[in-house]
Symmetry: C2
Subunit: 226 residues, 2 copies
Amino acid sequence: MKNLIASVKIAINSQLYLKDPESSELGLKIVHKGIDLINSIGFEEFTFRKLGLEIHSPEASIYRYFESKHKFLLYLNAWYWGWMEYRLLLATSNVVSAEKRLEKAVFLMTEGVENDPNFHGVNLVKLQEIVVAEASKTFLNRKVDQANQDGAYQSYKDFVSNVASIIEEINPTYKYPCMLITTVVEGAHQQRFFAEHLPRLTNKQSKPHYLSKFYMDLVLKTIKSN
Amino acid sequence: MKNLIASVKIAINSQLYLKDPESSELGLKIVHKGIDLINSIGFEEFTFRKLGLEIHSPEASIYRYFESKHKFLLYLNAWYWGWMEYRLLLATSNVVSAEKRLEKAVFLMTEGVENDPNFHGVNLVKLQEIVVAEASKTFLNRKVDQANQDGAYQSYKDFVSNVASIIEEINPTYKYPCMLITTVVEGAHQQRFFAEHLPRLTNKQSKPHYLSKFYMDLVLKTIKSN
DNA sequence: ACAAATATGATAGTAATACTATTAACTTTG
DNA sequence: CAAAGTTAATAGTATTACTATCATATTTGT
């Protein structure tokens, strides 16, 4: 099993970095400690200078891997969705029932990482927290079209498209599969954030997996033909 | 009618400004031209210095009204949701059927402003575009708890709570009214953004009001008891 | 084994940002 | 019409988000 996992590499579009961070010790350190640092102080407060101090390397060395902190966030996001695609594949392959596959997909989209907290040395719990709190900043800005051309959202699109095809299997006449999926993904992220900071905007429950139950129920009811 | 509208003032928590911008010509100019400028160059590129050049007033004068550009965005957001509450009241008062009221609420949450494009000199179309593209930045940061204490999200919470009570009228046993409403509000904003920049993440349609139809269908099916 | 290529470290520098401070001129109000 | 408050004009600061340069390892091809 270990070997199988070790053979998987998350492919990232080379437009998102200047030098592949997986190609050197320093590069890996930048990514791993970068995740820790963004997770602990937030993306606005994060600077390459601070990261340089953490890893005892000059700021300028980090700029040799990533053009800007914005591109660094794009890279982390792309990595996350590449990893999610891999998880989706693992969770759904050999599952015959489309309903069961959809259920697994919704679970993946809405629940926090629990097991497998490390993968290639990446702290996935922290990475997921970063995606929940910061991912919308990867597209809500004026560089979005350029980033899109650079392939920054490719894995996310592929993930959505994979789940969409499960929905189409269940109800081929349903017209809004992608809308429904991104509503669930982005919604789940925001509800997790609201539960922690703005509870009156959500309905936090103590029962386990209430978020994925809410969204699973919503999805199943919505895609039913009337 | 004109008189009725003129008598309405959107109340904004005083923690969000240093000096009430509605109390002077300069204050109003800051808000009105600020909306224009953020709308045209985006919030990241927006600075008080640039706004100062637009209105031919020094940067420092703007700082007498707003502590920071972040607080300015909080102010605009609070104003928007105050106005939305007012619209919700107008649209639902004297409507007996809860279903009809819910429909109007979902329409308000998901559709663009069309008529009434000016209200107290504020360009509402541009303000709504700002909310769609930038509002998540008002809470996705480390100052969220402080901002919450300052009442920055009060009107948004009130709006959500008002719509939630309509849902409770229709189905008193439904457990997630607030989650459902914020999923719709934030979802609709993102889908509008995706339709323009990342079409593969949505299902854009040419038919009018497809967004509100999608979300209305989703809401009605979801709150049905099984 | 050793020159050449490549990666990193150390240091310095720059334009712009997000403010704060000060003082003078102008305007309103009691 | 003087006092109080508001705005203009200008200057200044720490930090950010980079870029540039050059020296010092380290790796690699032959």
